[in-house]
């Protein structure tokens, strides 16, 4: 099934936020060949991805395809994909077909089923790519990845909630760069944990000027759009610039490793009284989290999704009612390959103004 040309193999994978840093290490530690991080996402990436994608497939597909094409152009000859939930599970077969029809020569492997997190299963799949891989090596690498993802998400969450209030401009970004530099050079889970506690403290030491009455915005929506900042035109950064504390629950550690996410009954309970059933993919989460944001006094909610994303379209019908009931403003964004950046910023600006006005009139 998979040819063993290990010494000539150059493996690449799609981008999603900063996770390439730890994905690359995981693949390096287990697959015994060269791993190529795909070129960073630019306008060209999405343009070329969209050009060869089915017209109305959800946009993460188009981003993936753009990453693959750019990686193949740079010499990658082995592509990996993940899959699970919604349409995402079916991306691999179509992406492979499109790339072959374009004339590229490569191997393609669907290495991860995100619907069913199971190290033993993942080991079996990884072993198909590297037959010499033993479970001990795999599990060690998996533990490193696990801890890296947990600490990355924890720190990025802290950054989102506080970067809007840094006293010295650029202090958060500077430390973040340092953090990732150290995180990309680890060998054991213990090292990761040490780096983690070390940097958690360093981040807490960054001086901030954050009042109790600051604006708080919750972000919900489709997982790729939330975790790949380019795809949403850096909305979280824009919010931070305006002195807003941003909270987002959807991260890889939340989706793959947290008990909260796997306890479906609890998620539906948290969505009371809006849901009887799950909406598909993470649509249910969008409702539960929005419900919590409303209950916890957040000033506004932003819902981000690709155009046509059915689980999130499902959620929107219900969010509209929730927003009305709880009197909390919800701003809806729908992204495709040609969404206008100016349009996004204009709407963000207007939303921000509205939140400020509401806050001020409430305080008075």
């Amino acid at each position: 099934m998979v040819e063993s040309m290990n010494n000539k193999r150059i493996i690449s994978f799609p981008h999603m936020g900063n996770y390439y840093i730890v994905i690359k290490q995981m693949l390096q530690n287990t697959l015994n060949c060269e791993i190529m991080t795909p070129p960073p996402i630019t306008k060209r990436t999405i343009d070329i991805g969209a050009k060869y994608s089915p017209d109305f497939v959800c946009v993460p597909f188009k981003y993936n395809l753009g990453n693959y094409i750019e990686a193949l152009e740079k010499g990658a000859n082995f592509l990996v994909q993940a899959g699970g939930g919604c349409r995402f599970g079916y991306y691999a077969e179509i992406q492979e077909q499109i790339l072959r029809d374009l004339g590229y020569d490569f191997e393609f492997f669907n290495i991860l089923d995100t619907g069913n997190v199971n190290p033993r299963r993942y080991y079996k799949e990884f072993k198909k790519v590297n037959p010499k891989l033993d479970f001990r090596t795999f599990f060690k690498a998996f533990r490193v990845l696990y801890n890296q993802v947990i600490i990355m998400d924890k720190i990025e969450d802290y950054i989102r909630q506080n970067i809007g209030f840094e006293v010295n401009k650029g202090s958060f970004e500077k430390l973040e760069k340092l953090f990732y530099k150290e995180l990309s050079n680890v060998n054991t889970a213990k090292e990761v944990k040490n780096i983690g506690s070390n940097f958690e403290q360093k981040f807490r030491d960054i001086p901030i000027n954050k009042k109790e009455t600051c604006l708080k915005v919750g972000i919900v929506g489709e997982l790729y759009m939330l975790m790949e900042p380019f795809s949403n035109y850096f909305i979280e950064k824009e919010l931070g610039k305006r002195g807003i504390a941003v909270k987002r629950h959807i991260t890889v550690s939340y989706l793959l490793f947290s008990k909260e996410h796997s306890n479906k009954k609890q998620i539906i309970k948290s969505a009371y009284p809006y849901l009887k059933y799950e909406l598909g993919a993470d649509g249910t989460d969008s409702i539960s989290r929005s419900n919590e944001f409303a209950q916890n006094g957040y000033d506004g909610i932003i819902h981000i999704k690709p155009f046509g994303c059915t689980p999130e379209v499902n959620a929107m019908s219900i969010l509209q009612k929730l927003g009305n009931d709880k009197n909390i403003p919800i701003l809806y964004f729908s992204f495709d390959a040609q969404t206008s950046e100016t349009g996004v910023n204009t709407r963000l600006e207007a939303f921000y103004d509205m939140l400020l006005m509401r806050k001020e009139s409430n305080i008075i």
Partner: protein, 324 residues
Amino acid sequence: MLQKQLLSSDKKITIGIPRALLYYKHKILWKRFFEYLGYKVVISHDTTKAILDKGISKSIDESCLSAKIFMGHVDELVKQKVEYIFVPRIAGYGCKERVCTKFFALYDIVKNTYNDIKLLDYNLDMEQGTTEYREFMKLGIRLHKNPFRVHNAYKKAKKMQGYYDNMELRRQKDIIEKDKNIKILIVAHPYNIYDDFIGKPILRNLEKQNVTPIFADLVDKNVSVNYAKKISSSLYWTYNKELIGSIEYYKDKIDGIIFLVTFPCGPDSLVAELCQRKIKDKPFINIVLDEHSGEVGLETRIESFIDIITMRKRNLSKNGGINE
């Protein structure tokens, strides 16, 4: 409460079923089940522009056209003041046998779109352990009905649905064997091709050109799901498997394929693409319908497609049936 109503009046309680989406798959089962339990069943009228427009106004803009039509039918039933509206929730038939996530959410979407609406539902999620029989029993018993009566109602309604499905299958088999016209396989969800507003115009158009439609959904589902593997190895949407398996099954008996998709159908956006890339030995056209689709443009496309097929067939027979 329900029991009080049953005692106090002779009038039957009405249950409204929207003539949309999965109604086309289960219409006999659903209607008969409730009728055997003593309810009056009201099906909404055939889709009209008014229903579509109402559905659009009640839906999120990016919903697929088929779901918007569904909401229009729900609205019709609300206006008709039926006692209950029936909106089942389907998630899937087992591992790697799922359905579009739209069906996951229909119940909750309808519930949250209307204040004061009474819905009846069942939840079919076989991967989580529910079965159709158990769900219908739960539904019937929830309606305060005698379990034996519910059991019999389900069994009888299921049988009726089976007879109907077999009859449709036989009719199509007959057509395939006897009809000498050009035959085009319509690969489309039943709720699209049989819908009066979006599907029937296409069928009328084909009829005008003396073309016989062969319906991809009229096939033994177990057979077609197996045949689907020849086209796609990783497909996990059951309804799509049933449809594309039909392509392989009917391939030798048809002259061309029309893939009919409503915008922006999630599963079809990928499945149609794959089919288009992999099916090279039969003329193939992909029609995407949205709420702005003009009938004229559609007619032109279908006519030229049929012209090409007619010419191709003529050439093939001229060359003594040698394959190109």
